[in-house]
Structure formats: C-alpha cells, structure tokens
Symmetry: D2
Subunit: 335 residues, 4 copies
C-alpha cells in the first residue's frame, strides 16, 4: 500500500482524494492546504484522512511515499524539489512547472533519486483520446496531416499565467501523446483584455519538419463552452467534441484524390464525403486511470502515459509560445 499526501485542496482536490481513495494500492493519508476551511471539508467527507496546514511537515514524514502537488504552478518547482529530496515520488498537476529549466532540474533530481516524477495530464486517460491513439497506431486514420483544437469558455482570468498556460496543457499533452514527431517551432498571437499582459485569448500554431501542422485556440472570454478537436488523416478524419454527452468521437471516411489539370492550372481535389462512424466508448473516470498509472509506476516501475517527458514536452511548447506572443508572433524554434 502506497501512502499518499495531497498538497492543495482547491477545485481539483476533491477529485484527487476521491480517485486515489478508490485506487486499490493507494491510501490517501494526508491532505495539506494553507486554508483551514478547505481542510474542514476534507474532514467532513473523509474522516479518516489526516489534514495539516503545515506543508513542510510532510518532508520529514517517513510514512508518506508519494506526494501529489495540486497548488499554483509557480510553487510546483520548490515543492517537488523538497518532495524528491525527501525521497518521495511526485505527481504534479498540469502544467508541470513554470519554466523548462525548472522541469529539467526536477527530472534530473528524480532520476538521481530513482523516484517517479509524473504530471496529471488527465486527458490522456480518457476513452476519447485512447480511441484517437489507437486509430493512429493501427493505421486506420492514415497519414496524419493536421491537429486543430478549440478550448474556450468563460474562465477565471489569472494574474500569473495566460490562457495558454491554463487551458492548452490539456491539448498540447494530447498532441504530444498522439504524434511521435518532434515539433519544430511555434508561433503565437493573443490579446489581454485586462491590459495586465496576461492574454485571455490566444492562438498557437505548432510547426513540424514534416508538413504536419497543429493549431490551438484558447479563450477565457467565451460564454459558450467549446471543446472541439479535429484530427485529419488521409484515410479518416476524427472530430472529438467533448461537450457531446454520448457521441464524443465521430470518425469520417475521407479520400482525397489529387489530380492535376494543366489547362486549368490547378490541382483538383476530387473528394467524397463518406460514412460516419460513432464508436461506443467505455464510460470511465479518466482520473482513476491516471491515479492507477502513478501507483503502477511506483510499484512496478512502469513508464506512465503522463510521464515527465509528456510534462516537459508540453511546457517546452508553452514557454516558446510565451516568447512568440510577446514578440508579436515571431516564429520561435524549439531547442
């Protein structure tokens, strides 16, 4: 049995406690938060879980095997560093850290200490993303040409990070999971309606050495919640609409027949729009799969889907996007 401490009991905290409690080889031993009123909530719903406002007491508590860090991103590095140095496995909420340098330092530390370091990219564990992955892996979708994600809603305009850092980690980590090719460069644009330099609407293009292209549209200023992802291959196109209660994944037959016509000086795309197929997806809570993956990584040494590599690749793109957006959309090549 692996004893877990959860640091931070905000919006996501109750979901973490519930899912780790339901994971066979995990025990939620402790929840830490600076706010006593949040801890009171824990005690009410989970009387057997210990609570504390003294986060630093965790490091010397040898009964704690693993720490789940669900605090604001700017605190991730310091907390994870202390946890790893105390010999604990670490799960970080997304985004992994506030800078690539911090992520690299944590990765080195985790490797040196022989501890698991992973990131809660919950979406990788959804039936929808798993379905998209299998469509790519088994060749059904054909050669993948583009990825286009829209994630917009009314949101909390934050003081420390822009809308890309807040919303895009979901989509970037999905892209990273689906596409083995390393991205080449990014270009980002956006606007801050609060005029504090924190963009509440932003657009991101990710370029590849091949002709694959990815695009992300994020906003905190849309009354309408849209969660749509397009994945285009030369055999199939997938539309993932996460707002649909039961038809999240729709698969469209597609066939581009490119023929040249010199007289008309153009390439003709003779298309047919074919059948649509809506697969039955297993109904399960993705966060439970993530919790199990963390426990398995600790117990069995397996590599989790949402590994530190997934976390690192995601913030590499975010950090470059940050530079691009401040330099008016200049292409920033990823190192």
């Amino acid at each position: 049995m692996i004893n877990c401490a959860i640091i931070g009991y905000g919006y996501w905290g109750p979901n973490l406690v519930r899912n780790f409690s339901a994971t066979p080889n995990a025990t939620v031993k402790l929840v830490a938060d600076l706010r006593q009123e949040r801890l009171n909530l824990v005690k009410k719903n989970y009387p057997t879980v210990e609570v504390t406002t003294d986060i630093d007491s965790i490091w010397s508590d040898n009964s704690i095997d693993a720490v789940i860090i669900a605090t604001p991103v700017f605190t991730h590095f310091e907390l994870a560093q202390k946890a790893l140095n105390s010999g604990k496995h670490v799960l970080l909420e997304k985004p992994m850290t506030d800078t690539v340098a911090h992520a690299l330092e944590l990765i080195d530390l985790a490797n040196a200490k022989g501890k698991v370091l992973m990131v809660d990219h919950t979406f990788l564990y959804t039936s929808s993303v798993q379905k998209m992955k299998s469509l790519i892996d088994n060749g059904d979708i054909g050669k993948v040409k583009y990825f286009d994600s829209t994630r917009i809603n009314l949101g909390l305009i934050q003081q420390d990070v822009n809308v890309l850092w807040d919303l895009a980690p979901h989509d970037i980590s999905i892209l990273d999971y689906l596409m083995p090719e390393k991205p080449h460069s990014v270009q980002a644009t956006g606007v801050s309606h609060i005029h504090n330099g924190i963009e509440n609407i932003a657009y991101l293009t990710v370029n590849y050495s091949s002709d694959f292209i990815a695009h992300f549209s994020c906003s905190w200023s849309s009354t309408v919640k849209i969660r749509t992802m397009l994945l285009g291959g030369d055999k199939k196109m997938v539309v993932f609409n996460d707002m649909e209660p039961t038809e999240k994944i729709k698969i469209y037959d597609t066939a581009h027949t490119v023929s040249s016509d010199e007289e008309k000086q153009r390439v003709l795309v003779d298309y047919r729009v074919g059948d649509v197929y809506i697969p039955k997806l297993e109904i399960k809570e993705a966060l439970g799969g993530m919790a199990k993956d963390f426990m398995d990584a600790i117990e069995k040494g397996t590599t989790p889907l949402a590994s530190w590599k997934s976390g690192l690749n995601t913030i590499r793109i975010l950090e470059a996007a940050q530079i691009s957006i401040k330099e008016k959309g200049r292409e920033v090549v990823l190192s």
Copy 2:
C-alpha cells in the same frame, strides 16, 4: 432597365444569371465564357439571353451598361479596367483583385469615369450578418471584444491562390462590415500539403489599436464542413453557425464582473451564463440583395454595402497575410 453582361459562367454563374434576371431593373443581356459547353447551358435554361466566347466584343457593345466579372482572380484587373474604360459599371466577384495596387488603380479609374465599382461580398446581404450588424449598432452586444471565424471544408486545392484568398474574403468582408475600427496588423501561419507553396490550411490573426482581436481559421482539408463565427461583446455573445438550417444565430447573455483580490494575486471573473435567444431571421437569397444593391448604386447613386471600399479593405488584409505567412508569421503592419 440596366443591361448586364456576365463574364464567366462557372460554379457561381447560374446563381448570378438567376438573381440578376429576377432583379426588377436589371436585364441579363449577355453571358460570355471561353467554354462553349458552358454557354450551351445558358441557352438551354435562358433561351433569351445572348452568349459569346468573344469577351472583347463586350467593350464596344453600347447596349451593355454593366459588367459582372466572375472569372479567376488574376483576370479581374484587366477585365475590370477594360470595362470601366468602355464606360461600364463593374461588379467583381470576390476577392476584388490579386493585389492592393490593382484595386487602387481600378478605384481611381472608376472614380474618374464616374462608374460604380463594387464587389460581390454576398454574405453582407444575409439575414445572419444583418442581424449581427444590428446587434452591434443598437448597442445590444455591448463593447465588441473579439471575432473568431472558422471556415473549413474539403475543397479544390487551387494553383494560383491559397486557402485564405479563396475562403477568407467572406469572413474578412463581414469583419470589415461589422467593425468600424481600422485594423492595425496581421499575422498568418499555414501549411501546404501539396508542397507547391499554396497553403491549404491557414490561420490569420488581425490586431487592432484597441484590444479588439480577430482570428480566422481556413482549410480545404476538412471532411467536415464547419462554418462558425463567434462575436463576443461585454453584454452579449453571438454564435453564427451557417450549417444550422434554422438556428443560424444564437445570442447568449453574458456578464463579466471583474473584481480584484490581492491576496489571491489574480483577477476574478465572476460570470453567469444566462438565457439564450434565437431570433427568427427572414429567409431570403442574399445574392438577390446584392444584385439589387448594384442596380440601385447605378440608378440612384447609393453606396452599396459591398462597395469598392469593402473590397479594398479585404484584400489589404489578404495581401498582408500573404507576406506574413511567407515570413513565418511575422507581424505585418497594414499601411
């Protein structure tokens, strides 16, 4: 009665003949096309309309008052120039011309000759766009913050112009119609899957001196046809879904209450999602409104919605986008 000649009887030609035929003060006297088989179609459906493959015969035909040019964009300038020099009014299909310089030259010529020069931006005449315009003008929507358009479908990959020149004129002309503010700069990204330098997927951001922002997503490579426009104001948000048969315009109540909270180091947006309202829109053919507007401009000297100014503003953005996309997303300031 105004005698019209239509040059070019391709995909859009039958719609032009039908709508100008149904316009009270217009007569379709002649259709010209280089392809005899297209002209045979005209004769079959409109036995009283004259046809010719000799386009240059139009210029000296004094019975022709107005010329509608529905040919590939690279021919627009020369044909329009000849028509204006022959003393004829000119309607150009979108986009107006292939360069801003050509557009400016035509505008000067039209002014010198005292002839009407307009562009077939059909969408301006739809009930949906008219509804959005009135929501802005009467203040219902509040201060407008963003415009976001997605126009993607399987399309003909063209040899001469990219997907922005093909699809975005619709959306850019709508933006130009709705927003009186002059755009400041553009940034564009994209990819060519045909590897001929002609982008089949492209993204465009248009920036303003104020904090208004516009974004366009265009693709010829989507099996699924999407036509969605978001228009966000601080009182209402409008979603225009042109694929909806009867509920094209949905209006959402919105209210952003921005309050600061120093302790939490963030700006809190306390939002409520309110009622939705789907107005009844008049069912009418937009092209008929455009045809009437052209005739009225000729007869009464009125300024049409889709004036040369609308055409010019649209290609100003397209030309700058072309530069930006080739310079890897560099911000191009509009002159």
Copy 3:
C-alpha cells in the same frame, strides 16, 4: 416519348412539372387547372407547355398518354375514372382516393383497360427509405419489432380530411413498403381543436397477427416541425430523422439478452448500447425516381414501388382509422 398531362397546379404542381420534364422518356404536354393565374405561372416558367382550364378537354385528346392527378382527394375518383376510360395511364397524388371502395373500382377499371394506375408515394423513392428497406431485406436489422413515426408541424387545417389523411399517407406507405406482413387491426384517437369534427391531432396504432406493432403521431398544431421514424429490430435500431440535413439515417447496434430470474420475478434485459453508424446516402430528388418509375411501368410493364397496391393498403388503414377515431378508439379489424 410519353405525353403527360398534369391536372392541378397547386403547391406540388411545379415539382411535378419540373421532375417529369427532366425524365428522359416523358414530355409534359399539358397542365390543367381551374385557376388561370396558376396557368400563367406555368407559361412563364415553361413556355412550351400547353395550359388549359378545361379539364374535360383532356379525355378526348389522343396525344395525351398519361395523366397525373394532383387535385383535392375528393376529386380523385371521378378524374381517374374518366382518364382510365379514355385509355390513359393514371398517377394519383396521395392519398389515392377518399374511400377504399373507390380505390377498388379504379383498380378494377385499370386492370380491365390494361393501364397503369399508381400513386405518388414519393417517400418510397428517397435514399433514406431505400436504406431502411435494404437493412430489412439483407437481414442487418434482424427481426423487426416496431415502427414508430412522428410527423408534426404547423399545418393548414383542412375542411374535408383530418390530419391522418393529410400527413399519415407518407408514413403508412413507408410501413407498407417495409413490412410484408398484412396488418390486422387499427385503433385511433385524436382531437379537433376547430370543433368541426376534423381532427388536427391524431394518434394511430396498427396491430399485426405477429407481435409487430406500428404507431403514428400526426399533428397540424406543432410550431416545431418533427419528422422522426424509429424502426426497431433485434439486431439494429434505425432512427430516420428527416429534419437532419446530412445525417438522416442513424443505425444503432442493439442486443437484447433476455434472461429469467425467478427469484426476482422478472425478466432481465441486459442490454449494451453499441456503436452508431451513419451511412452516406445518395443525394437525389425522390420525385424524379417516382416519375421514372411511372414511365417505366408504362413503357416496360414493370410494377412500380408506389403501385395501386401501395395506394390501396394505405387507404385501407386510413379508412379504418377514421372509423376507430369516431368510435372512441375501438379496435377496427381490417378486412
């Protein structure tokens, strides 16, 4: 070439002229209507078609081979009788006649004269109904258990026939086409909000000797237009939503596993909701298929889908429903 006369140029008339004009072996020679203003419309759009207000002049016109009767239902019998007696083939708009007795008399006459008698059950020629038919015939759907149709909209409340006679012929003829089994009895209920004995809302159940059941819901009093048909088999269920622009037919995997559990005193249906499949349907105008079927029946002696048998079976159910609805839902056994 078969010369056709169309009697009645109301709402449906222009569609008939257009489709018969486009049918290779048909010529629309004459349109007859009592209203000169309707005939003026014919002359404007089809200058070569003859028109007349003298319907009786048709019978002695030997150049007319076939007559299409698109007049109010109470006139069908007399007009069709005259046409057949004049040696002409007859197509009747739906419903075929106002009584079963009239239908039988026309059928006998057509057989005696050796002429084609058919009914314009246009829906049988749609891609959607053809798809449902093939799903039944090839066994995909399994044993068919039920058919449930809803056809409601705001409508013209008629003085002579109730909403079932007006709307249900579409659905009853589809049912008759899909299901070879002879129906056993009908039960109908309804209400007349005009209080003239003409029901504007009505419900119809059709029972079979087997355990198959069909139900029809019709209304002229719904602001919302609904056109939904459910077809349930033990392998698949089909939902036909005719208001959907592109996804009219959805096919659902279904599997009923009925297991008994004596202790619980109930039959347990362990179901799984499986995949959904939306086949691509050919886009074509059904009325054109009907017109061709009529011409083929005349020229080649083929039996049309919408034969007099389809017409007769449909009004057998309507006539029995009429009796049932007036006798407060009493079961009326079909003779």
Copy 4:
C-alpha cells in the same frame, strides 16, 4: 430533527440516502433491505447509518418519525399501512400503489392518523417542470391545447408491471401538476414482445371534457433514449428535451390565425414561426427539493407538490389504461 428510515436500497436507494442526509432537518437513521450485500454498501459509504434486514423492527422503533418506501410496487400498500399504523409519516416511491383502492385506503388511514403521505414524483421538483408550470400560470403559454410525452429507452422488462406503470408515472404526474382540469377518459394500446402479457411498448391517450388532449409513448425496447415532452398553447409551444445537457427547455413563439375561406372549403391556419427562447434554468438536484418538501410537510404542515393527490391521480390513469389496453383500446371513462 426528523429521523428517517429508508426501506429498500436498490437502484434509487443511494440517491435517497444522499439527498435526505443533505436535508437540514432530516437524519437518515436506518436503512432496511432484505439483501445483506446492499446493506454493506450503506455501511461502507455512510458508517453512521444503522442497517437492518428485519423490516418489521421499524414499526415498533419509536425513534423513527418517517419512513421512505423504495420497494417493488406490490409491497407498497402493506408496508405503508404498517408504517402509518405505527404513527409514522410515509413517502412512497412512484407509482404510489398497485391499485386505486389501495391508494384510497392509505389516504384514509393517513388522514385518520394525521400523518403525511406523499409520493416521490421527483420530476415535479425539476427546474424544467417548474419552468413549464410558471409559463402556464403566468399566462405566457396561452390556452394549453395538448401535452405529448415520449419516454423510451432500453429497459428492464419487469414481470409484475408493464412499461406504462414503470415509465409513465413521471409524465402523468407532470401532466397532473401542470393541468388543473380533471381528465375524462383514457385509451391505451400496446404490445408484449415477451408474450407474458406485460407490455414493453405502450401508447396512452388521455381525453378531457375540454378539447385538451394528452398522449404518452413509452417503451423498454428502444436502444436510443428519448425523453421529449411537447406542451402546446395558443401563444407559445414548449419543447422539454431532458436529454439535452443545457438546453432542456425551448420556448417557441407561435400564433395560429384561423380564417375561414368558403370558396376553398377549408379553414386556413396562417402561421408564423417566431423566435426561440432558451431560458437559463437553475441547476439543482430535484430529489433534494422533494426531500425538503417531505420534511416541511411534516414540520410545518404544508402540502407538498407530490402529495397523495398527485399519487392518486397518477394511478387512476394507470389503472384505467391497464383496463383499456386489455380491452383493445376501448375508451375507459375515469370515475
């Protein structure tokens, strides 16, 4: 504080425990069920709640003030009778009892004992039904003309009651709540695909002395889950689609202008389809409102929405429908 015992911990049991636990003036003291494994679930999730398999021990337990009976319908009468005779308030799951006679006997007993007797018609407490009620009460909808409900899904085919007794109580209780007029008669049809006399598909018409009409369509044999209710008035029409996550209630402007036209021998309904309005509905759990209403009725003597009258009116219709369906749709007048 009112101490409650819940009898029956099946599908609905956990919802009852959770909601009564969250009701301020209620305490869930005891859960009784014949199945020890179900009681184990209670202990796991609610360690402080007592459990028992000895249902009869409840009657003599003076600490229990109120009993919630969530057992099969054929046990309702006996259990409720014992509870009332023991001086306890009673809430029955729907349908109230298996016969009208049993319901009347319980009502008399409750009145004699001065105890609350109510029925869990949860839907009356939903925001959607409350919205429909207010639209009727404030006159927005105008004179109500019809009510049409479809409730179909794959379901458990039960041995004791047919699909109407299982599914229609929801809709009939809503109808009873919305319409003050007393229904006059019922007609029902249906089929049993299991051939055990228990209909798995059934249709029900309810007639009124006025020209109002109600219709219910219920099925356990539809792979597709449909939950649609139409409520038509002469000013507005409401469509309640309970499968919609956020747009459950849509309100359509409607205007019937009935004009007579002697020449055409028909009544003309000149309609316009107007605006659509989707009100924001409060998100709340209806069952919580029902629990509170029960507690208030006990403490404050208020009359709950889901009173015994609502329960009685509902099974009056069900019992008559049962007779009608067995007598082949004969109209059964309600006493």
